[in-house]
């Protein structure tokens, strides 16, 4: 019987005829199979998915060859609007999880993809998002190997939510931890801060501003490989997403009981983003990013690391933006361009525009 199965021709994938998603597409029946086959399996297109098993299966020997520790992470994506300048929820869902793996020094390998769809969503929207995910996965060198689809009644979710989990391998000797920052270390960023937050604020259309800011949504694993090749002893890396670089730096300061001392004039911020912040009374240090990392690097390697980053597309505008100090501990301090100094604290809640 087994022998017969192995000789069977490749499975013919089913087709989806509907133009909008209905509750039937989440019911577990034929409609759901059509959706999964035509939208997800056809787009992600790999042998793990075509088995139609409930789980992906891996050969451990292949993992062992890549490192001695497995890294695992998960994140949910609920961005509104689904499409924005520079990306969409699909690119975000792949790059975000890839980056959460990569900042540990891991080589990202496999992702899952679970979608929660509000009934009434255009199938074309879903196809576009799946395609973005596949393109982002290709660029990052990962595969989407298992998934789940749920459809909920109108109003129970906002259009489309995506969860991706990911696994990767950390090579022996790589020790990147938030509590590793040491006084004297350099603080490095890989480019302009706040682009994603500004692009989303603009794409929501509430402001009617004419702006050309694009989200910085990108995978960082390639850049991190280059950084680790230059300096295997990088102390800490974290991607600065929600809450911006201010939040990551506060996390570093807290974990390592140090002071993150920043030089405002060294922090790259695009003119357009500065302009938006000036109008709304927002602070670019707190704006979200989706392709930015903060690295804490021993001072003696800082310049070589930045030079190497500058040669990578994701680190073209990398710069040293400050240094780790001993005191005052648990604190982030910004030396302002104006010549003063101030504390950069964690946000209490969302950044809200000021009244006047």
């Amino acid at each position: 019987m087994n022998a017969v199965c192995q000789q069977m021709p490749a499975r013919v994938r089913r087709k989806l005829n509907s133009k909008t998603i209905t509750l039937a597409h989440g019911s577990g029946g034929k409609a759901m199979r059509d959706l999964i086959d035509d939208v997800f399996i056809s787009t992600f297109d790999n042998s793990q998915l075509d088995t139609l098993e409930d789980q992906a299966r891996f050969d451990l020997a292949a993992f062992n060859a890549l490192g001695n520790r497995l890294a695992m992470t998960t994140d949910s994506y609920v961005v509104d609007p689904l499409f924005f300048p520079g990306g969409d929820i699909g690119t975000l869902a792949v790059n975000g999880t890839v980056n959460d793996l990569a900042v540990s020094g891991a080589k990202p390998l496999y992702l899952t993809c679970a979608v929660i769809i509000e009934e009434g969503l255009d199938v074309d929207v879903l196809r576009k998002v799946a395609l973005s995910m596949q393109q982002a996965a290709n660029t990052a060198g990962v595969q989407i190997v298992t998934g789940d689809t749920k459809v909920v009644p109108r109003g129970a979710a906002d259009k489309l939510f995506i969860n991706t989990a990911g696994i990767g391998m950390i090579a022996e000797g790589v020790e990147i931890h938030a509590d590793n920052a040491r006084p004297g270390d350099a603080i490095i960023i890989n480019g302009f801060v706040g682009d994603h937050g500004a692009a989303i604020a603009d794409a929501r259309g509430e402001l009617a501003l004419e702006s050309s800011v694009q989200s910085d949504c990108q995978a960082l694993n390639g850049l991190i490989t280059v950084m680790l090749d230059t300096c295997p002893n990088i102390h800490s890396i974290r991607d600065a997403t929600r809450g911006g670089i201010a939040t990551v730096l506060n996390e570093f300061a807290e974990s390592s009981c140090t002071c993150m001392y920043l030089d405002e004039s060294a922090i790259p911020v695009r003119q357009e983003v500065r302009g938006l912040c000036e109008i709304l009374g927002l602070d670019p240090l707190y704006l979200a990013n989706e392709g930015k990392l903060i690295a804490i690097v021993p001072a003696e390697h800082a310049i070589t690391v930045v030079n190497a980053m500058n040669n990578h597309p994701a680190g073209e505008h990398a710069a040293i933006i400050g240094e780790v100090r001993e005191n005052p501990d648990n604190t982030v301090i910004l030396q302002t361009r104006f010549g003063g100094a101030r504390i950069v604290d964690m946000l209490v809640g969302e950044q809200l525009p000021r009244i006047c």
């Binding site: 003119q271 910004l334 104006f338 100094a341 504390i343 525009p353 000021r354 009244i355 006047c356």
Partner: protein, 391 residues
Amino acid sequence: MKYVDEFRDPHKAKLLISEIQRLLDQIERAKQRPLQLMEVCGGHTHTIFRYGIEKMLPEALELVHGPGCPVCVLPIGRVDDCVALAEHPHVIFTTFGDAMRVPGSKKSLLQAKAGGADVRMVYSPLDALQLARTNPAKEVIFFGLGFETTMPSTALTILQAKREGITNFSLFCNHITIIPTVKAILDSPDLRLDGFLGPGHVSMVIGNKPYEFIARHYHKPIVVAGFEPLDILQSIWMILKQIQQGRCEVENQYQRIVPEQGNSQALSAVSEVFELREFFEWRGLGSIDHSGVRIRQAYRDYDAEKKFSVPNLKIADPKSCQCGEVLKGVIKPLQCKVFGTTCTPETPLGALMVSSEGACAAYYRYGRIESMPESAPEPAPDPQPADEAVI
């Protein structure tokens, strides 16, 4: 960035600070105790902390952060009224962003929104009017808040609504006026202030004349100031120059924006729509005569307080708060008994911890550097904010 960076030039800042020091050296009074200057406006407080100006200034000079943050001075009872209005069925309640988090006695507008109320953040009252046009089956209420700076735009929106015959739009009016409040501060017995930085954006509307009593009756110099860091330093320098020369005048540093007579069109829109209330309650300062406005009878159809029932309860500030003393410069935020312990930006007890423009919130957020010992194994009560937002 053009028209911004010019006003943030660190070299000019250094020059101004050395000039400020030179003037202070020539003022006898400054040798006995630090001179105290009050910036009335919350926008100034924000600039002072954001650029770290306070720490750049000589020790013989102290900045006192005044009452000009409209979000901070909103009494708890009025926030409760907002929540009650927002929770009316069929109401879309619209507000400026930073009023969303102000705590009422039970909840803030953000919490009301999470509970199902239709609360929306807008950038202008005209956005609220647009919502009324596109949602004819709903009642749209705009939360009118702020000093003379925001009053004209609210007035013009009501005039526009009337012109268009829009009937599902109304205003919950909490606009306040600056002059009676400054007067109340000047009349307080423990006053020690030596001069004022006048509010730039308010003055853009009302002009400079209304401040003359400060110079004439109270003999305090006042300089109407802009909001960039060099504006602040230049204004401080101008006040000190007056003190050094024994003058008490109203001067205008913010001439690029503030006309001597104000904006007559804005003022006529304001007086068409609004009239003074007999008194208005301020968080941290109590009731101040003629310090708020309400909608005139002719526009009563646009008055949310007339259109809907609001609880209108007076709720006292917590006793432990020393906001009033901080506002008058009697104590610094760090000297308040509850600063940073029971009163933090996550759980504000007092008015000044509420908005980022409030003096205490600004101190907490930007200014605690000097409160932290250089190497501090046992720091003074100075809790770090929680990892998660408490909302």
